[in-house]
Amino acid sequence: MLILDVHKRLGDFVLRAKFDTMSAATALFGPSGSGKTTIVDIIAGLATPDRGRLLYRGRMLFDSEAGIDVPAHRRGFGYVFQDGRLFPHLTVERNLDYGRRMRRLRRDAAETRRVVKMLDIGHLLERRPGKLSGGERQRVAIGRALLMRPQLLLLDEPLASLDAARKAEIMPYLERLRDEGVPMIYVSHQAADIRRIAAAVVRIEAGEVKASGGLELLDAADADAVR
C-alpha cells in the first residue's frame, strides 16, 4: 500500500528511512527525536526528501530521479498534528468544512453529521478554537482531517499533548476509525497506544528503520526498556 525509501539530512540529523506496509493501520514507533514526524511530513508532502521514492497505492508521490514531487495540497492525505493546528480565525464548523471547500468536494450533510456525532463535537460547532479544551481541540482536528475525505489519515502523536483522562476520551474514536477501515499511519512513542490502534509496526530509531512487522515488535521494545 505504502512504499517509502527516502534520505534527508536536517543539520546533523540524517534520516534514512525505508519500509513498506500493506496494513491499513500502521504505527511508526520510536523514541522522541528519532525522525517519526519527519517521515510523516514527507508522506504528507510538507517536507521534501533529498532523494528517494514514495508510493501510495501505486501512485508515485515522490521520486527524486524522475523529478516527481506531488505537492501536499494534491496528495489528499488527512493530517492530524500533535498540536492540532486548528485555524484560530474560523469557527469549529468552518474548520471542519475547510478541507471539503478547498478540495471542491460536494457538501455531504449526512457524512458531516456522522463525523460530528462520532467525535461528539456537535455542541462546539459555533465556537472558535481558542475556547476549546485540549481534548476538544484534538477531536475537532480529527474531524477536520476526516471530512476532507482523505485517502490516508496521518496521525502524529495526536494524544501526546493530552493528560490521561483526555487521552482515554479520544482513544475510542481512533479505534472506531480503524474499525471503519480508514487507512492510517499512527505515530507514537507509547507502545500501549499503538497496541490499541495499529496492526503493523515500523520501529524507528535515530533516523533509521530498525524493524518492521507486527505488534510483536512492541514486545521487543518493552524488553529493551526493561533491560
Binding site: L46, H73, G78, F81, P88, Y98, R128, P129, G130, K131
Partner: protein, 230 residues
C-alpha cells in the same frame, strides 16, 4: 468645531480624497511587498528592503524632486503616462502618488511584521487540507495578518494626510487641485492675519488623525479578538 470657509473645506476634502486614494491604491502593492519581504529569500532582497524604506529617511523634498524628474511632463515616466492621458505633475493625482510613496514604508513595515507573526504551521495544515499556495494565502495567511494590515493601512492614511514636503515639491500648492490641509496651513501662515484659518485647519488635522487612530485601534482589537477565538 469652528466653521470652515469654502477654501478651507476644499483643502480638507482634497486631503481626505488624496489620502484615501493613496491608501487604497498602495495597499495591494504594500501587502505584496510586505509578503515578499517577510517570506521569500532572493537576490537583491536587501536592496528592495532599502528602497521601500528610503522615503522614510530621505528628505521629503528630495523624494518630491525625484518624482518631478521622473513623472514631470517631460520626465521618462511622465512622458509615457502622458500618452495615455495620465498627467501627474501639478495635479491631485500626483499628490496621490507622492503621498502614497511617502506613506509606503510605514505601511509595509506594519504589514510585514504581521506576516512574520503568522504561524506557518497553519499554512502547512491548510496545504494538507487541499489548499494550494494562493488559496492558503487568501483563507489563512491574509485573515491572520489582518490586524497588521489594518494598522498599516491607517498609519499610511494618517501619514498621507499630513504629507507636505514631497507633495508641495512635486505638485506645488494649487488651491482646489493640490492644496491639501498641510499646504493650506503653510499658505495661511505666509499671509498676515490668517492665523485663525491656520488654527482651524490644524484643529481639523488633529481631529481626523485622532479619529483614524481610534478607529484603527478598535478594528485591530476586534480582528485580534477574532483571531484568538474570542
Amino acid at each position: 468645531m469652528p466653521v470652515l470657509s469654502p477654501e478651507e473645506w476644499t483643502a480638507v476634502a482634497l486631503s481626505l480624497k488624496v489620502a484615501s486614494w493613496a491608501t487604497v491604491l498602495s495597499l495591494p502593492i504594500g501587502i505584496w511587498v510586505a509578503y515578499v519581504l517577510a517570506r521569500k529569500s532572493f537576490w537583491g532582497k536587501a536592496l528592495l528592503d532599502g528602497l521601500v524604506l528610503l522615503p522614510l529617511v530621505l528628505p521629503p523634498v528630495v523624494t518630491g524632486y525625484f518624482l518631478l524628474i521622473l513623472f514631470g511632463r517631460k520626465g521618462p515616466l511622465g512622458a509615457v503616462l502622458a500618452q495615455f492621458g495620465i498627467v501627474l505633475a501639478f495635479r491631485w493625482t500626483g499628490a496621490v502618488l507622492s503621498c502614497g510613496i511617502m506613506a509606503f514604508p510605514l505601511m509595509v513595515r506594519a504589514i510585514r511584521l504581521s506576516f512574520e507573526a503568522v504561524d506557518r504551521r497553519l499554512e502547512a495544515a491548510a496545504a494538507t487540507l487541499g489548499a494550494g499556495p494562493a488559496r492558503a494565502f487568501v483563507t489563512v495567511t491574509l485573515p491572520l495578518a489582518m490586524p497588521g494590515i489594518i494598522a498599516g493601512g491607517v498609519l499610511a492614511f494618517a501619514r498621507a494626510l499630513g504629507e507636505f514636503g514631497a507633495t508641495i515639491t512635486f505638485v506645488s500648492n494649487i488651491p482646489g487641485e493640490t492644496q491639501t490641509i498641510s499646504a493650506a496651513i503653510y499658505s495661511f501662515l505666509q499671509v498676515p492675519g490668517a492665523d485663525a484659518a491656520a488654527l482651524r485647519l490644524a484643529a481639523v488635522a488633529v481631529v481626523i488623525s485622532l479619529a483614524a487612530l481610534i478607529v484603527s485601534e478598535w478594528l485591530a482589537r476586534r480582528a485580534t479578538a477574532r483571531l484568538h477565538g474570542i
